[in-house]
């Protein structure tokens, strides 16, 4: 069994009357890419700040690499790399100098640091820009520099707090591929985002947060298995008699139907041949229909069903 890298137990953090973290617990094993998924204000960043001992908390325990995390846990901190949502680089220093500076906060040996900096520049693909000042870089390149500054010291635990916000798709893909590569090289990754596609794409395990609580945790499949909806069938149909809709609703595994005059949505719970059965009913009634979609549930569906609201639309 792989060792535990991060263990958060019963964490409570209050800002006055507001409970930012409500008895939040978490355990992350070595080698995982762990996704913290939740809408803005759900407590993801607060969790990270508490984990890094940058924020005091009211109750609970935090252990990193098997040791209690405190503000003076410098040895533990030196094994962690942090990449935040905001680009944190020094405008007056070049790309190389920035990476060298932040790497130097962890790696004191000059020769070793040079190796680390060279590796980080290559890793994020900034070889051509290493003497540029940050203000000369595009948004995507700046994000890459931000990442390089966080990983140059080759940390064992990498925390990425929404690193792809306001990033173009090309840079986003490169960042996500990079995270997976770091993970393959042995780093444990904590990835927070409110972009469910990203979390779904790279994370091996996911915790869904809402209002400072962990509402679900597991692998993608485990999470999807937690909800009733296992398949949504959508059919474009301009005329649907009520008795036909009722007939579809009585099919095995169908638990909900919705018709808005142009589109019929049928939600199924389990079952393998739902689409064939639904289309069979329509053909039997000799009803014409247009395009047909069959969609498996997404994390958004999971979030929607668990919290009663859509992930992206949530505003707090």
């Amino acid at each position: 069994m792989k060792p535990t890298v991060v263990k958060i137990d019963n964490l409570v953090k209050r800002y006055g009357e507001l409970v930012a973290l409500d008895h939040f617990s978490l355990e992350i094993k070595e080698g995982e890419i762990f996704g913290l998924l939740g809408p803005n204000g759900s407590g993801k960043t607060t969790t990270i700040n508490c984990l890094l001992s940058l924020l005091s908390y009211d109750k609970g325990d935090i252990e990193v690499f098997g040791k209690e995390m405190t503000p003076v846990s410098y040895d533990t901190k030196s094994k962690i790399g942090v990449i935040m949502q905001n680009v944190a680089v020094i405008e007056e220093l070049s790309v190389r100098e920035n990476i060298d500076y932040f790497c130097g906060l962890y790696v004191l040996d000059k020769a070793k640091r040079k190796e680390c900096v060279d590796w980080a520049i290559k890793f994020v693909g900034l070889e051509e820009f290493e003497n540029f000042r940050p203000k000369k870089l595009s948004g995507g390149l700046l994000r890459r520099l931000n990442i390089a500054c966080g990983i140059a010291h080759k940390p064992k635990l990498i925390i990425l707090d929404e690193p792809t916000v306001a990033v173009d798709p090309q840079s986003r893909n490169r960042i996500l591929e990079g995270i997976q590569e770091l993970n393959r090289d042995g780093a444990t990754v904590i990835y927070t985002s409110h972009y469910m596609e990203e979390v779904e794409q790279i994370c091996t395990r996911i915790a869904i947060m809402d209002k400072g609580r962990k509402v679900a945790e597991g692998t993608k499949d485990e999470l999807k298995g937690m909800i009733k909806n296992s398949e949504s069938v959508t059919i474009e149909i301009l005329e649907l008699p009520e008795e036909i809709r009722e007939k579809i609703a009585t099919l095995p595994h169908v638990y909900e139907t919705e018709y808005d005059g142009t589109k019929l949505t049928v939600r199924c719970s389990g079952g393998r041949h739902n689409l064939i059965r639904i289309l069979g009913v329509l053909q039997e009634a000799e009803l014409g229909f247009g395009r047909v979609y069959s969609e498996l549930p997404t994390l958004n569906d999971v979030f929607l069903e668990i919290t009663g609201k859509a992930l992206r639309d949530s505003k707090e």
Binding site: S53, K59, V72, S78, V87, A88, I90, E92, L105, G150
Partner: protein, 386 residues
């Protein structure tokens, strides 16, 4: 020493603007001290004159002699056109033609229409020549009335008008500055440049390092806060030290003075003030102002303090009300110590210690305020509350 090196690199990137301040200060400072040092002198303007004597009498020769004194006499030109050109191109400033009959008319007591004169460009010098001619005519007339004959009257007029009184520029002995006094003037202006250079360079660099995101990243790292702070302090101190040293060395070199005796008090005084300026930069940067605000604060602190405290205007010329307010500012005590060393105020060891002590007190108070504000901003390390 990673933080130390990075901080110096940030300062280095801002150094060109500091150089502009420094160069301007030295140029203006040198000009000002030189103007204080230079004794005033004057020289009479010489006119290039053509004097054509068509009369050739004792009177006309006497007038020509008078006009030739203090002016450059040029031989008569070939034609009227040549003279016009010469006057136009100022190769000749003034032309006098003494017509035939001048001596007779003068002896007869006539005073108008005696000469033909030409000039194009008006100046004090041409007016002076006309006055001189007038004086000659009047002096000659006076001599005649006293009973002198024509040649004698002409000679007397020449003698009288040749006795030009020696002109001496009066200057108080106390206003002549020696090198040490010039150095003290240089030091008197130093608070302004120290405030400008240190605040304008150090504040933005400190603000960069304490930006929320940079600070966050630093706090996440394995570096101890004490080590981080010490490195920032060390780099700031090095910068302040270098700037201060440049001015102290340059001040001595430009004024040709070796630091001896009481001049060391002035050097110590400037060091304490430089420290105050550095701590002031730390204090301002705790509020993480934008560059515009830093610039505004710099101007406010430097100009305000320097005008109020007697850096730009001698404290002796400032009103009592202004001086009472200025006593609450360190620059007042800085200037006061310079005045003590300069002898404007009787030398007293207690007064010197008071001036230095109060400035050091300002440094201490600002350091305490910095610590308080810093603690308020960074509410200490995170810890479990229960």
């Amino acid at each position: 020493m990673q933080v130390f090196k990075a901080f110096l690199k940030i300062l280095k990137s801002r150094f060109p603007s500091a150089v502009i301040y420094i160069v301007l200060f030295f140029v203006v400072g040198m000009l000002m001290t030189r103007s204080e040092a230079t004794e005033s002198a004057w020289e009479k303007v010489q006119l290039k004159m053509v004097v054509e004597d068509l009369d050739n009498t004792a009177e006309s020769r006497a007038l020509a002699e008078i006009l030739g004194k203090g002016n450059e006499i040029i031989p008569p030109l070939a034609s009227e056109d040549d003279l016009t050109d010469a006057l136009y191109y100022t190769t000749v400033d003034y032309a006098v033609t003494i017509p035939a009959g001048f001596g007779e008319k003068l002896a007869a007591g006539e005073t108008a229409g005696l000469l033909e004169t030409r000039h194009i460009h008006e100046s004090y010098a041409t007016a002076d020549v006309e006055m001189l001619i007038g004086k000659f005519v009047n002096t000659y007339g006076a001599c005649r009335k006293l009973g002198y004959n024509s040649p004698e009257a002409a000679n007397e007029a020449v003698k009288t008008l040749s006795d030009t009184p020696a002109v001496e520029m009066l200057q108080k002995e106390t206003e002549k500055k020696n090198s040490a006094e010039l150095l003290l003037i240089f030091f008197r202006y130093m608070p302004y440049i120290l405030l400008c250079v240190i605040l304008n360079m150090l504040c933005p660099a400190l603000v960069v390092m304490s930006k929320k995101d940079i600070r966050f990243r630093t706090d996440c790292s394995g570096i101890r806060p004490s080590s981080y702070t010490m490195q920032i302090f060390a780099a700031s101190a090095l910068y302040i030290g270098v700037i201060w040293l440049i001015f102290v060395v340059a001040g001595g070199a430009l004024n040709g003075v070796m630091y001896t005796g009481r001049l060391w008090l002035v050097v110590l005084n400037s060091l304490v003030f430089a420290l105050f300026t550095g701590v002031l930069a730390l204090f301002i940067s705790e509020f993480a102002p934008s560059e515009t605000v830093v610039s505004l604060m710099t101007q406010l602190c430097s100009l305000g303090m320097c005008f109020l405290c007697g850096v730009f205007v001698d404290q002796a010329l400032l009103g009592n009300g202004v001086l009472r307010v200025a006593q609450f500012l360190p620059a007042y005590w800085y200037v006061r110590l310079i005045r003590i060393v300069n002898g404007d105020i009787p030398f007293d060891g207690g007064e010197v210690a008071l001036a230095l002590g109060i400035q050091a007190g300002f440094v201490a108070v600002l350091v305490m305020l910095c610590i308080l504000v810093h603690r308020a901003h960074y509410a200490g390390p995170a810890r479990k509350m229960a």
